[in-house]
């Protein structure tokens, strides 16, 4: 069944930055995915990159390399499916 797990979520300055980030992070083999900006971060409509906790420094460096503007990095509980052993 699904469970809420902690994820590292990057919010971007603009949707175009989020789209560029998705492409770049995938090229770099970074685990994660583009998601709608969770309501717990902001009520605004936006896109965010959800990845594994602990990758904050790596993500910041990658974004800096590609001049992708990160608006904020957050730890958010999101639903994911947990396989039953």
């Amino acid at each position: 069944m699904r469970e809420k797990v902690q994820r590292l979520v990057l919010a971007f300055a603009a949707a175009t930055h989020a789209m560029a980030a998705e492409q770049y992070f995938r090229q770099q083999g970074i685990p994660g995915r583009l998601i709608p900006l969770p309501g717990s971060i902001s009520a605004e409509c936006g896109l965010a990159w959800s990845t594994e906790p602990g990758l904050q420094k790596e993500m910041e460096q990658l974004a800096k390399n590609k001049k992708i503007q990160i608006q904020g990095i957050y730890e958010v509980m999101l639903y994911e499916r947990k396989e039953i052993l």
């Binding site: 069944m1 583009l34 709608p36 499916r81 039953i84």
Partner: protein
Amino acid sequence: MRKQIDAKGLACPKPVILAKKAIDQGTAGEEISVLVDNEIAVTNLRKLASSQGVEFTSAKKAEKEYEVLLILKQGKNPQSVPAPEVENCTVKNRKKIVAVLSSDKMGEGEEKLGHILMKGFVYALSQLEELPDTVLLYNKGAFLSCQGAETLEDLKLLEKEGVQILTCGTCLDFYGIKDKLAVGAVTNMYSIVQEQAQADLIIRP
């Protein structure tokens, strides 16, 4: 210290009442294990944990056996927090929710943006506290349940959670993607109409 509550077979909201009582009587760091026999009880216990500031984990142990573990945090005084309203005590009271995806894009405008929005919409469906009963996919929406679609993993997650994923057979046939269907089942117009006619709530992107 761990307290065990066997709430299997108890009618809703009894598991929540027993768990709330144990939380009120518990001390910081204490673990409360609650055994229940349905997912609605798990959902209600999750809501209780969230309202009480208590850590929550759950696992399916067997068919009709779920273990919910509640861990009381340090420095909390949960006695002062009332329990949340328990909803959906029985399946009978539950609203039937149907999500209808009739395109591979969300909204009009730039195609690339439309695809990204649709991908986000399907992900957001998987994040709902109360999942839909059925997702209907037709016309270009049929592509969303086929191999290669970026929405596939989220639809598979929904299906594993018991959501019915139904894709229009005529549409799969028309677009020549019948052999690409990768989640759920093929449906027809009668089911598409019936599912919506029986729904209490229809969600469209």
